[in-house]
Structure formats: structure tokens, C-alpha cells
């Protein structure tokens, strides 16, 4: 009998906070600037400089805490994490250690099969990012870019509550959705604004104690998280089943070779010598400050999805897809607003053609060439029967490329659907007239020929006749 294994995963997500300036200095945080132009004396750790906490970063951390139902510490403390590295200018990182600003939150996740579960958030704390070491293109030397040094991060530490890579992805996506709803992080994973470390272990199902874990560092895409975890789980199980044991260590995921590898072992483990930073007073938050932030919170994805389901009659799945991003939900809701209803039609188009085209052209919803106004204009014509769904797709494509509104395209292309019964009857009469042999065959029982007549009518009307009406009238007239 083979043993059943259970995977245990906890994630440490680093979300770069979307403040304009750094967490302890006035330098800009914009991505992609020339090396070291966004590093002032404080970021460079010059002699005599002092950190001053960015209030906006604090507000953002509190927003996250409130949105996850966490406890907001009325008093939290910044500590120094001491170690030497060239991209760490002060020789210590300022981070929250014993007393983080956010503790004890949770988020709900839904898997594709509809299963729901809750993932606990142990803590979320504020800290500064380090700079970057550059080793390529410098003739064997190393360069240091300190633009990123001092960028505010919120490190979100989950409980070891996830039991599969899929759950881990669902959780990470949910946090990704949340931080963007809250407008505290741009969520850009390519630029490293949202990344995670995964703690992975395995144990026999039913056991209480955890297995020895490995930490996989710096995963910056959902796909990598999934692949890294799956590889690591398989590695650990194989290792144990072949009589070995897992060593607690930090590993790196190599996306090209699709495997995790131990990080180059350091000469000895770092002792970070954490102690409270004497340059920063304990961060004290009062009720008024917290309540002010609570009052400013936007509608969050879960309540929004519930509203879409109950008020718009959408399925839980559709409501979940539409609320995965605040922009998508806003777009959808604007279309429904303009249409004055037709929620299901709007949902199908937003999740279907619109999302498809956006993906194809690699655009964000905010960059959509088709505005909410125009999509609503198109859907209105479907709803009132002016055009068929098939015609709508053609018009949508023209709107995407050309930028006119639906009515103008319908008129310009003469795509207005023929719904005038007598006009359709006239066309049918002409076709019956033109194909006497086929008519005779049909009437003698060759039902398959019905499709032939539909095709001829549509051809005669250049595809503009309302298909439902064509069907109905043709059946009547062929019967004689």
C-alpha cells in the first residue's frame, strides 16, 4: 500500500507599495530609470543621514490589514536587520520584526472546481527593499544600482494553510487582486513589484506535525510558483521514499531547467542581530487614523462578486471572473449601466470577445480601443434585434480596429439586419421560384434540403436577414 502524501505550503509575498517616494526618503520610486539616479543621500546610506517614515506607506499597509480583517497594531516597531552586502548601503535593512503593523488576517479563495477555503495571513510588515547588484556587461566587475534601495515593501506572510500548488496560486492571485483593488501595489510581476517566496514541505496525510520545509526564493510569476512547487513536492517525496530526508534550506527555481536548486551555500548562516532602530520612534496609530482609512476602502472583490451574482443574476463563476480585477469589474458595470440591464449579455462580451482581443493584443483593459460607451452601443443593437450575434462579432472587430461606434459601422457596411417579414417573404418566394426541383425533393421528404434553402435566402439577403425569422417563414412557405 502506497503512502498518501500531503503538501503543505506557506507563501511570503512581497508587494511593492505604490508610493511616489521611498519608505524613508524623498527619492522617486519609478521603475526603469538609469542606474542610481533615484538614490539620494539617505538611500546611499551617507554618514549622518536619518530615515523619516513615509506616511503613505503606512496608510497602504493599514488598508491591506483592514481589507483582510486583520488586527492593526496600534504600536509597531521598526528594527534593523544587520548584514553586509554591497547593494545594502547601510549594512542593515530596516524592517519590522517583533511587532509588525498587521497581524492575523485571512483571505477566502475559490478553486476552479468551486471548492472554497480560507488562507490565514500571519502578518504583514513594512520594510525597505535593497538595491540591485549587476554582474553582466561590466567586464567581469560588479555594478550596484541603488534606485530600488529604500523602495517600500509590504511583506505578507501566510499561514502554512495551502495544500497544493493550485491553492497557492489561487491565494497568490487573490492577494494580487486585493492589492490592486486597494491601489497599494501595481501588481507588475515582470518588474518585480509582486513576488513571493514559497515554503514547501510534505508529510503523510493525517499527520499533525509538519515535514522539514524548503524555501524557494523570488518567484515572480504565477506559472513559476506552480511549477516550482510541483517540482519541489515531487523532489521531496522522492527523496523521502528513497530513504533520504529533506534538509531545511533556501532554494532557487531555474525556470529554464524547470527545477529548484540549493542556493550557493554561504560560508556560515547570517546572524541578523535584529534590534529596534533607534533612529525611528515606535509607529503609533490612533483610532481616528485607522477609521479614516477604513472609510476610504473601496468595495472589495468578494462583496462585489456577491453583488453581481445577486443583483445582476450572474453565476458565481462569472461574478468571480469579472471581479478578479477592479478595472474589469468597473468596465463591466459601466456597460451594464449604459445598457440599463442585459447583464448576462454584457458579462459574456466582456469575458469573451473583449478579454480575448485584449489578450491577443497584450493590452490592459484601461487601454481597450473599444470604450464602455461603444461596447454598450453594440450590445444594444444585439438586444433590440438590429444585428445578429454573428454580425456583432464582425462589427466589434471593426470597432476594435477603426474606432467608430456600432451604429456608424452598421450603416456604413449596410449590416442592419432585415427583420421586415414581407421583405424576407419576398426573398423566400424568389428562391422557391428559382429551385423547383429542390422544392419537390424537399416536399417528398428530403428534410436535409432545409439547410440549402436557408443558405440561399441568406445569400440573397447578403446575410442580413434575421436568421430566426428566416427559419420560421421558410418552414411555413416550403410546406406550401
Amino acid at each position: 500500500m502506497s503512502i498518501e502524501w500531503e503538501t503543505v505550503i506557506g507563501l511570503e509575498i512581497h508587494a511593492q507599495l505604490a508610493t511616489r517616494s521611498k519608505i524613508f526618503s524623498g527619492s522617486a520610486t519609478a521603475y526603469g530609470a538609469a542606474p542610481n539616479v533615484q538614490a539620494n543621500l539617505v538611500d546611499l546610506g551617507y554618514p549622518g543621514v536619518l530615515p523619516v517614515l513615509n506616511r503613505e506607506a503606512v496608510r497602504m499597509a493599514v488598508r491591506f490589514g483592514l481589507a483582510t480583517g486583520a488586527k492593526i497594531a496600534r504600536r509597531s516597531i521598526f528594527a534593523r536587520k544587520n548584514y553586509f552586502y554591497p547593494d545594502l548601503p547601510k549594512g542593515y535593512q530596516i524592517s519590522q520584526y517583533e511587532r509588525p503593523i498587521v497581524e492575523d488576517g485571512a483571505v477566502a479563495i475559490v478553486l476552479e472546481d468551486g471548492a472554497q477555503t480560507t488562507i490565514g495571513i500571519t502578518r504583514a510588515h513594512l520594510e525597505e527593499d535593497a538595491g540591485k547588484s549587476l554582474h553582466e556587461g561590466l567586464g567581469g566587475q560588479s555594478g550596484i544600482d541603488l534606485n530600488r534601495a529604500g523602495t517600500p515593501l509590504l511583506e505578507i506572510v501566510s499561514e502554512p494553510d495551502m495544500r497544493s500548488a493550485r491553492e497557492a496560486i489561487a491565494y497568490m492571485k487573490k492577494v494580487h487582486t486585493l492589492v490592486r483593488y486597494l491601489e497599494i501595489c501595481d501588481g507588475n510581476m515582470q518588474e518585480g513589484s509582486f513576488r513571493c517566496d514559497a515554503n514547501v514541505s510534505v508529510r503523510h496525510r493525517g499527520r499533525h506535525e509538519y515535514g522539514t520545509r524548503c524555501e524557494i526564493k523570488n518567484l515572480n510569476s504565477f506559472r513559476f510558483v506552480e511549477r516550482a512547487i510541483n517540482y519541489e513536492v515531487a523532489r521531496q517525496i522522492e527523496l523521502i521514499e528513497s530513504g533520504g530526508s529533506v534538509v531545511q534550506e533556501t532554494r532557487l527555481f531555474d525556470a529554464n531547467r524547470n527545477e529548484t536548486r540549493p542556493m550557493r551555500s554561504k560560508e556560515e548562516a547570517n546572524d541578523y542581530r535584529y534590534f529596534p532602530d533607534p533612529d525611528l520612534l515606535p509607529l503609533a496609530l490612533d483610532e481616528a487614523f485607522i477609521e479614516e482609512i477604513r472609510a476610504e476602502l473601496p468595495e472589495l472583490p468578494d462583496p462585489k462578486a456577491e453583488r453581481f451574482a445577486s443583483e445582476h443574476g450572474l453565476s458565481a463563476y462569472d461574478a468571480g471572473v469579472l471581479t478578479a480585477s477592479r478595472e474589469l469589474a468597473d468596465y463591466y458595470e459601466a456597460v451594464v449601466g449604459i445598457l440599463g440591464g442585459e447583464a448576462k449579455l454584457a458579462a459574456n462580451w466582456v469575458m469573451g470577445d473583449l478579454s480575448g482581443f485584449l489578450n491577443r493584443d497584450n493590452l490592459e483593459i484601461s487601454q481597450s480601443p473599444v470604450s464602455t460607451q461603444r461596447l454598450a452601443g453594440l450590445l444594444a443593437r444585439i438586444a433590440d434585434g438590429t444585428i445578429s450575434g454573428k454580425m456583432a462579432k464582425e462589427i466589434f472587430e471593426a470597432m476594435w480596429d477603426g474606432g467608430a461606434d456600432a451604429d456608424a459601422i452598421i450603416d456604413a457596411k449596410g449590416l442592419r439586419q432585415i427583420t421586415d417579414t414581407s421583405a424576407i417573404e419576398l426573398a423566400i418566394a424568389g428562391i422557391i421560384e428559382a429551385y423547383p426541383a429542390q422544392l419537390a425533393d424537399y416536399r417528398s421528404g428530403k428534410d436535409k434540403l432545409f439547410g440549402f434553402f436557408v443558405g440561399q435566402v441568406m445569400k440573397a439577403t447578403a446575410g442580413k436577414a434575421n436568421p430566426a425569422q428566416v427559419n420560421e417563414l421558410l418552414r411555413k412557405m416550403l410546406a406550401g
Partner: protein
């Protein structure tokens, strides 16, 4: 002439800032080398600032310090000028910005003469720990001037500058002031911005003044104090007009005398001078109350956990990567770190970095750092209790007058005990001032006055009252009279 007197003379048109500045630059030229009080002298800048000051005085602008020269301890960053902190590590460091203290005193119209010698990174009590060599005490060239602000003390004592800035982490203003016959003020923690002051121990460091009189200290403190948005630990308490408050009487002042400060280790002559001073205050109408602060004797060990812990972290930025000393031809990163720091730091700095690293390390943190923080709050509580009974505390500033250069260099613990009376005020963040109260064998002795938080006005008024009754602060070292 005191800074205040120079200021009055300038505004009365008796002389110009250019003349005064030239006078001090000449004195520095003649005696600066022998005392080794200055690391850098900035004559061109000084003359230019003096001309600007004269122009504003001529327009009827400026305040009591406009045109008055001063010297800065070389721990304050000064834009475009070497800022060494007395260390080989920063012997090539030209600061790219002005410390808040430097900027504020310049804005008050003061004229910087140069930067004074100091114990490396402010770690020391004798000014023997400087990469630039020891400073000599103007009262006796074979003696130390105290430290770490030894260069500032020697400069003002020898009248190479009318007044100077200093920093005080465990006594580094008060102790040298006492040993050179000056008025040395360490303000309340947070009273003066630390921005641009190279950090030794962040929770203890405070900028202050070494002056010829309480009046001078009052004027300079008023110009440098106040909240600074660049220093989160600076406090937004309004800055009073300290000079205006000097006239307050000491009649009825309740003076607490700390029993623990008069035990074994206090040199006899020093003790007698301080007791006489206390009698003087009684004669002026103050009430003397004997007090005990039972946890105060734990100050020195507490300090020598907290201060090294903070310094071990504060000095990590000196890694040879971005500024400061870098070793020649590093083989790799570890070699760069090890040799740059090994060569750049002196023995005492290394000793404290190692001590600090040890007390913060895993397994020792609770036994040392955490325990020290607990003792620190007990010491705080002792002071709070004392100030519920008395207005100020008084006692000796140092256990002995100035000692001989070289006498204690090989015995760090004996050296550390020099600060036994001064460290308490740093641990509790309290303001304290040392004023001259006598001579023992021709060497000055200081009386220390400690007050509650933000009671600088009270301290300065008491010091001023004392200085109206006595001449100790007007005595000059015979060689420089």
C-alpha cells in the same frame, strides 16, 4: 571675549567680523598645531562668511550671533569640507551636505573657522583615539583635554575660537568642558537635530555647545535647537529664548545632590570644589536635598552594552563601497570589507563594534541588550522620582581633573569610568551642563547640573547665576592668557 560680547561689539560697530575672524584665524595659526585642536581650518570660507556677516550687520540685520566665529566638531557634515569624524575611514570624505546644526548656525550668521579634532567616531574620553593624533589640554600640555569633543574644548579653552559645537553620547561635551574650564551643555535628547551628525549611538547622541559662559551656551543653543523634519527623533517642543531666561533667580531652587556621585573614586580636590559650589548655591538661596539614585551606578555597564550595540550597526555603512577608505586592490568582496574596515577603524572603534556585535548576537541578545534596556528604564525611573522632589540635580562632572596623555590608553575600563557621572543623563535623555567650579593643582574642575527633560532654561539660569557670583569661567589657561 565671549561670543555674546563679540556679538554686542559687532553690533555696536566696535570691530568687524572680518577683524574678529582674522584674530581667531591667527590664534589658530600660532597655537593650533601645538594643541592639535583642529583637523581642518577653513580660512577662505571664514573670511567670506565674515564679510557677508559684516554686510548684514551694516544693513542693520542679523541677530546676537551674526559675525561671531565658531568651530565645529568634525562629526558634523559640512558641505565641501573634509568631515572625518577623527577616523582614517573618513579621512577622504568631503561631505556633500551640511548637517542641520551647521546649516542653522550658518543661518544665524556665525562664521565657521574650521573643524575640530575628536576621538574617532566620538568614541573616547581623552581624545587619544583620533587618527589625527591626540589633542593637548591648554592648561597643561602633558594632559588630555577629555573627549570625545576634545578638539572643540581645547580650541575654546585656548581662545582659538570663542565657542564650538560638540556632541555628547556619554559625556563627550561635559567631560572635556570640565577638564578645560568651560561651560559644556548637552541638551535634552531630541532638542537638537541629529541630521548630518555622524552617528555613534543613535539613542544617546546629542549635539550641544562648548562655551565660555552659560550666556554663550544659551545663545548658541537657541540658534541650533528645534524640530527638524529630517530627524524623526527631534522633538517639536517650542524653543524658548534661553538668553532671556538667564536672569531667573536660584532662590528657592531645590537642588538634589546625588549621594552615589560622592563615593569612592571621586578625587578629593574635585569633591571639595564641588561641595564648595553647592555651598555657594545654598548661600544664594537654593535648598540642598541629599538624594539617592540606587540604579545610577549601573550606568556604565548599561552604557557599554547599548552604545556599542548601536555603533556596531551604525558603522556598518563604512564598507569601502561608496565612500571613505577603501583598501588597495581588493581580491574579492570579503577582502574589500575586511581590509577596508580593518585599516579604516582604530582599536577602540573595533573594540566597540565587536562588543556591540556580541551583545546583539543570537543567544546573547536577551542577556545583554535586552537586560541593558531594562536597566536603562530603571535608571530613567530613578531620575523621574528624583525630579518629583527637586528641580535640578548637582554633582561632579568627572571623578578627577585632567589626567596625563597615555595614562589610561591601555586600560579601557579605567578610561570608561571617566564617564561614570555623565552617562546617566544620556541614558535618560536628560539635559545637563558642566560649569567650572574650581582649580585643583592648576587644573579645572566641573560642576554638573542635570535637569528634567527640556529644562535647559532652568539649567542655564542656574549656571548663569553661579557665573555671576564666581570667576572660574573667566580663568584662562596661563599659557593662553
Amino acid at each position: 571675549m565671549t561670543a555674546a560680547e563679540i556679538g554686542r561689539g559687532l553690533r555696536a560697530g566696535k570691530f568687524t567680523s572680518v577683524e574678529v575672524t582674522r584674530h581667531f584665524l591667527e590664534r589658530i595659526d600660532r597655537a593650533g598645531k601645538a594643541l592639535n585642536a583642529f583637523i581642518t581650518v577653513t580660512p577662505e570660507r571664514a573670511m567670506e562668511a565674515a564679510r557677508r556677516a559684516d554686510a548684514s550687520i551694516a544693513r542693520g540685520e542679523g541677530g546676537p550671533l551674526t559675525g561671531v566665529p565658531l568651530a565645529h566638531k568634525d562629526i558634523f557634515c559640512t558641505e565641501g569640507v573634509l568631515t572625518s569624524a577623527g577616523s582614517r575611514m573618513l579621512s577622504n570624505f568631503v561631505a556633500p551636505y551640511d548637517a542641520t546644526v551647521v546649516g542653522r548656525l550658518a543661518a544665524a550668521g556665525m562664521v565657521m573657522l574650521g573643524k575640530t579634532n575628536m576621538d574617532e567616531f566620538a568614541m573616547g574620553s581623552s581624545n587619544e583615539n583620533s587618527w589625527y593624533g591626540p589633542v593637548r589640554n591648554p592648561w597643561d600640555g602633558t594632559k588630555v583635554p577629555g573627549g570625545s569633543s576634545g578638539g572643540s574644548a581645547a580650541a575654546v579653552a585656548a581662545r582659538l575660537a570663542p565657542v564650538a559645537t560638540g556632541t555628547d553620547t556619554g559625556g563627550s561635551i561635559r567631560q572635556p568642558a570640565a577638564l578645560t574650564g568651560l561651560t559644556g551643555l548637552k541638551p535634552t535628547y531630541g532638542r537638537v537635530s541629529r541630521y548630518g551628525m555622524i552617528a555613534f549611538a543613535s539613542s544617546l547622541d546629542q549635539a550641544g555647545v562648548l562655551a565660555q559662559s552659560a550666556e554663550d551656551a544659551a545663545l548658541v543653543l537657541a540658534a541650533m535647537a528645534g524640530h527638524d523634519p529630517r530627524d524623526s527623533t527631534s522633538v517639536g517642543v517650542a524653543v524658548p529664548d534661553y538668553a532671556a531666561g538667564l536672569g531667573r533667580t536660584v532662590k528657592g531652587l531645590r537642588i538634589g545632590v546625588i549621594g552615589e556621585f560622592f563615593g569612592a573614586g571621586l578625587e578629593q580636590g574635585t569633591g571639595s570644589a564641588v561641595r564648595e559650589a553647592l555651598e555657594g548655591f545654598r548661600a544664594m538661596g537654593a535648598a540642598i536635598v541629599e538624594l539617592s539614585l540606587p540604579n545610577l551606578p549601573l550606568s556604565v555597564p548599561t552604557y557599554y552594552v547599548v552604545a556599542p550595540a548601536e555603533c556596531s550597526s551604525n558603522l556598518s555603512r563604512f564598507d569601502g563601497v561608496r565612500f571613505g577608505h577603501r583598501c588597495a586592490d581588493p581580491r574579492d568582496l570579503q577582502d574589500l570589507y575586511k581590509r577596508s574596515r580593518g585599516e579604516g577603524f582604530g582599536a577602540e572603534v573595533k573594540r566597540r563594534i565587536m562588543t556591540g556585535t556580541y551583545v546583539l548576537s543570537a543567544g546573547y541578545y536577551d542577556a545583554y541588550y535586552l537586560k541593558a534596556q531594562k536597566v536603562r528604564s530603571l535608571i530613567n525611573a530613578d531620575f523621574r522620582r528624583a525630579f518629583s522632589e527637586v528641580d535640578v540635580l548637582m554633582g561632579p562632572t568627572t571623578p578627577t581633573p585632567a589626567f596625563a596623555i597615555g595614562a589610561k590608553v591601555d586600560d579601557p575600563v579605567t578610561m570608561y569610568l571617566n564617564d561614570i557621572y555623565t552617562i546617566g543623563a544620556n541614558l535618560a535623555g536628560l539635559p545637563a551642563v558642566s560649569v567650572p567650579c574650581g582649580l585643583v593643582d592648576g587644573l579645572p574642575v566641573g560642576l554638573q547640573i542635570i535637569g528634567p527633560h527640556f529644562a535647559e532654561e532652568r539649567l542655564l539660569a542656574a549656571a548663569h547665576a553661579w557665573q555671576r557670583e564666581t570667576e572660574w569661567h573667566r580663568k584662562l589657561p596661563p599659557l593662553f592668557a
